[in-house]
Symmetry: C2
Subunit: 156 residues, 2 copies
């Protein structure tokens, strides 16, 4: 049962609600390099915080996702479920080891996520990702008009 396609302003509001949702999770796709120099995909679910228009992740510094994103400089993120998606292409703005993290970053992350990496011991890093493109759609009738941000600028 499809409703009418949502106008852009509604899609933006829905997108921001997903990004600000307490204990929100995000699918994080990254890519690394195999032994033969071939590109290798990786994908994990992680908790996020939405701080100053940035997606902030906290993860083990040695994790495959952290290594991929730091080396490659970006990630592709998905929020929501497969028929109500927000897709975000993001570039790495900063990688901040937990020990050196500014208080607002660590407090902000802990306030939205349902865990606090400061309780998890050393070896964690915050990745601060700046969205370059954001798209939101539910079903095929919403593919038109799905782009809400392009080149880091909201279109709506």
């Amino acid at each position: 049962v499809n409703a009418e396609p949502r106008p852009a302003a509604v899609r933006k509001a829905d997108t921001l609600a997903k990004l600000r949702d307490p204990a929100a999770d995000v699918w994080v796709a990254s890519a690394g390099t195999g032994d033969a120099g071939d590109p290798v995909p990786w994908l994990v679910p992680l908790s996020l915080a939405w701080l100053d228009e940035r997606v902030v992740l906290a993860l083990e510094t040695s994790s495959r996702t952290a290594r991929n994103v730091v080396a490659g400089g970006g990630a592709r993120l998905a929020l929501g479920h497969t028929r109500d998606v927000v897709m975000i292409d993001a570039v790495l703005e900063d990688a901040v080891p937990l020990a050196g993290a500014p208080t607002p970053l660590a407090e902000g992350y802990a306030a939205q996520a349902d865990w606090d990496p400061r309780d998890a011991g050393d070896g964690y890093t915050f990745l601060v990702l700046r969205p370059e493109r954001i798209q939101a759609w539910r079903e095929s009738d919403e593919l038109a008009g799905r782009t809400l941000m392009r080149g880091g600028t909201w279109l709506v």
Copy 2:
């Protein structure tokens, strides 16, 4: 509110139920190569069919996901939501253009998915992906024991 961690047999049954679910979707992470030879992640939601222990996708031959998977030979898939996930590392067994697809493949796909690529015109391809590793977990208490298949063989 967490239940007890599920035993392996229950996780396998839950996983197969997700794979066999009518109109099931899957997150498909693939990786391509950028202009500088750098690995570039890609991620999209797609409908799947579970046929003969293979994940079958139908998508535009020219799509970025199809090109990445055909070139790279594999994908990483996620079913379910972020706190009840099935992660599948899969290798490409076959890429079958729609026009040459055997009837059981095309019928099988259409029977489970909620669309039929044969109605979508030319330019579509079935990707037949063989799971190499399958993991299933809900929350952190289920990280132990999450591997249900390794090296293409069910462990349970």
